[in-house]
């Protein structure tokens, strides 16, 4: 093994690497030829989003002839890794699209610029204050939400109606939901819903319905092992009764609608975010509808408007003003909004949303109407989750797998989860 022979070399290499890490490896975003400021702008998404974004960026370049924007996109998982590697190398793009779960890590890693310093060109007055606050870490605005989404119970309309079970209504509780899925399973012969036990998002809705939260303001766990045990016992019983999907089905969830039990024709409903729910249209021939998530016993709503994505500016950018102008354009410009439509979620700029809403077509319209029906009934979103949450989302699924395959009791799994969560949040 090479280790022992090269001790001195190791030490100097490590020192060198450390220097590289600390120095941030020089600033990107130098001007290219022609005196134009060149901005790099990256996002995750699909080709439709890419095409519309290209159009919007072209309009921006037309309005600002002195700025050139280099764009690049990838799928979500790939994007996340690429951005992390770039950021670690001190080479983050000037303008980057960020997820809720990335904000805290990128902000505390000094990757992001304090956007308040660019408030002359980047306006936020048209964004709901609660929503805007989600881009803030320790009082500093590191990112601006670009679109919003919320969770929904998406269901196969025909099957649900045919079963005679009353349709979901606003303000229904988790008990109502459990009764519904049980009856659905009896009358239709297939589970009433995807087992929500594996979903940290669904757990959060349930928790908030009881006035609690996943994380406290100072980034600690906002619930106890008892809470989680109750949630998992609740879903585990439904699973044993056949009211929600069996472990063999639930384990196949991979983020695509095609692999949900509803998408595979093996359940009547699914809990999902509203935007991806459009994918069910092609899979459920009889048509789907969106219903609000169940609320707590006393009617406290658990779901909230979540920023579907954010825009942030690199702390290392050579052109902070131009980068902020691009962000402002993407969030607040009317023309840009028309081009972008609902590809990044329903717009957060209130004027634009009211103007654009009626013009949306097809499923975008369905989502827009669904969100409009919830307007004013929901509570403020929580602040961005602490960076450890990235890892915990999968841990949550893994631990619940142990429950649904009956290898652990809900109590054991919940305690496992809490141990890991505490370690994760400490570091």
């Amino acid at each position: 093994m090479p280790g022992h022979r090269t001790k001195g070399f190791c030490a100097s290499a490590a020192a060198l690497a450390l220097c590289a890490l600390l120095a941030g490896c020089g600033g990107p975003g130098e001007s290219a030829g022609g005196g134009k400021a060149v901005l790099r702008y990256t996002w995750w998404g699909n080709p439709d989003r890419a095409e519309r974004t290209e159009q919007a960026v072209a309009l921006f370049e037309k309005r600002h002839p002195d700025i050139r924007v280099q764009t690049s996109f990838a799928g979500y998982d790939a994007y996340k890794q690429k951005l992390a590697t770039q950021a670690a190398g001190g080479d983050a793009p000037d303008v980057m699209q960020l997820d809720y779960r990335q904000i805290d890590q990128y902000a505390s890693g000094d990757v992001l610029l304090d956007l308040a310093r660019q408030k002359d060109v980047l306006h936020t007055s048209q964004i709901d204050t609660g929503l805007l606050a989600t881009g803030r870490v320790d009082g500093t605005q590191y990112a601006v939400p670009q679109g919003r989404g919320t969770e929904t119970v998406v269901y196969d309309v025909t099957t649900w109606k045919a079963s005679g079970v009353p349709l979901p209504r606003a303000g229904w509780t988790w008990d109502d939901w459990a009764d519904a899925v049980r009856t659905l399973a009896k009358t239709t012969g297939k589970p009433g819903a995807t087992d929500p036990g594996q979903s940290e998002d669904a757990f959060e809705v349930w928790l908030r319905g009881q006035g609690k939260a996943l994380y406290t303001k100072d980034g600690r766990l906002g619930f106890t092992a008892d809470d989680l045990t109750r949630w998992w016992t609740f879903t585990d019983e439904l699973r044993r009764q056949g009211a929600v999907s069996p472990a063999e089905q639930t384990t196949q969830l991979d983020g695509s609608v095609e692999n949900t039990p509803l998408g595979r024709g093996k359940a009547v409903s699914d809990t999902n975010w509203d935007a991806p729910a459009s994918g069910f249209l092609a899979l459920v021939p009889d048509g789907i509808a969106l219903a609000p998530m169940p609320s707590g016993e006393d009617g406290t709503p658990g779901q909230y408007f979540k920023p579907s994505m954010f825009l942030g500016v690199s702390a290392n950018t050579g052109h902070p003003k131009e980068a902020a102008q691009l962000v402002d354009f993407l969030v607040n410009d009317r023309e840009a909004a028309k081009i972008l439509g609902a590809t990044r979620g329903i717009p957060v700029n209130e004027t634009i949303r009211q103007e654009l809403g009626p013009q949306l077509k097809d499923f975008d319209r369905t989502i827009s109407d669904y969100q409009a029906s919830l307007e004013g009934t929901l509570k403020d979103p929580p602040q961005a989750p602490p960076s450890g949450d990235n890892a915990l989302q999968t841990t949550f699924q893994r631990d619940y797998d142990q429950v649904s395959y009956e290898r652990m009791s809900p109590r054991e799994a919940a305690e496992n989860y809490l141990t890991e969560a505490k370690a994760e949040l400490r570091s």
Binding site: C25, F73, A74, G75, A78, A88
Partner: protein, 286 residues
């Protein structure tokens, strides 16, 4: 006369049996590929829900969607980018790995044993562990968003797998040929180029084929180092197209997978004839 016919008959039956066995094995082996092809022509509602192998109706639009999908950058541009990288990688690996392999297999030098052991050790290093440090180095050199991080390592024989492969082949060559060459006054360079390299052709062709395919499919490295869509490869563009976080469409995705596979299949088919020739002609007769 009788004895030869007697001994031939079982042999012929043996051949038939071998062919039958191979065909049966092939049927099983190729089923998933047939499945992929069939699925790439299915309409969305049949992709997962339907159990039939063959599509109920052919959905050719999967393919047109797939071809349209790669935005502003033309498919030909992506293809030539991919070919440039894969071609550079093939050249780099063949040249640098055969040079290093010759030294390890045939020449004597100080620390040969330890260095060889180290070379083997580098095959074992999980790729993920050196990814970040390598990225930092290329970033320091200002080479991110160029093809250098994808091609340069191949010219520096970093893929020890191929060095090892060629070493193993060279070790199997009879030493007498080089001894004879040396007696005829050849130095190590001439005997490498004139004697050893031609005999090593099967291993070199194998190296070329594997390098091409692996480089073509190496999504992760391309993703990390390439930024500008103009520089994207086919694999990268196709995978960007397939995005699980938004509305994913399995039909066009399978269609794209088929399109992305075509160049590798063609390369393999074209090259494999050469592989046969290379083995037959070089052999050990030289």
């Amino acid at each position: 006369m009788t004895s030869t016919t007697l001994s031939r008959r079982p042999l012929r039956w043996g051949r038939v049996a071998v062919h039958a066995g191979c065909l049966a094995a092939l049927l099983v082996m190729l089923y998933p590929l047939v499945w992929l092809l069939a699925t790439s022509l299915k309409p969305a509602d049949e992709v997962i829900a339907s159990l039939d192998l063959l599509p109920g109706r052919l959905e050719w639009s999967n393919y047109s969607t797939a071809l349209d999908g790669v935005n502003d950058v033309s498919v030909w541009r992506l293809l030539s980018n991919s070919l440039l990288i894969a071609g550079g990688a093939v050249l780099g690996n063949v040249v640098s790995c055969s040079l290093a392999a010759y030294a390890f297999a045939r020449l004597r030098f100080r620390f040969r044993g330890p260095l060889f052991a180290f070379m083997i050790a580098t095959i074992m290093l999980p790729h993920h562990a050196v990814l970040i440090p390598q990225y930092i180095i290329f970033n320091q050199l200002g080479l991110v968003n160029t093809y250098w991080p994808l091609i340069l390592p191949k010219f520096l024989a970093t893929e020890a797998f191929f060095v090892f492969l060629i070493v193993q082949f060279m070790r199997g060559l009879p030493r007498e040929l080089e001894e004879a060459a040396r007696i005829d006054g050849c130095g190590p360079f001439r005997s490498f180029f004139k004697v050893v390299l031609p005999l090593t052709r099967p291993a070199l062709v194998t190296t070329a084929i594997f390098t091409f395919i692996w480089t073509w499919n190496d999504f992760f490295t391309q993703l990390i180092y390439l930024f500008d869509p103009e520089k994207f490869t086919l694999t990268l563009a196709l995978r960007s197209f397939v995005d699980a976080s938004s509305t994913s469409s399995f039909g066009p995705m399978f269609a794209m997978s088929v399109i992305a596979l075509l160049p590798i299949v063609l390369f393999f088919l074209a090259f494999q004839r050469f592989l046969v020739e290379g083995m037959a002609s070089s052999g050990l007769k030289g």
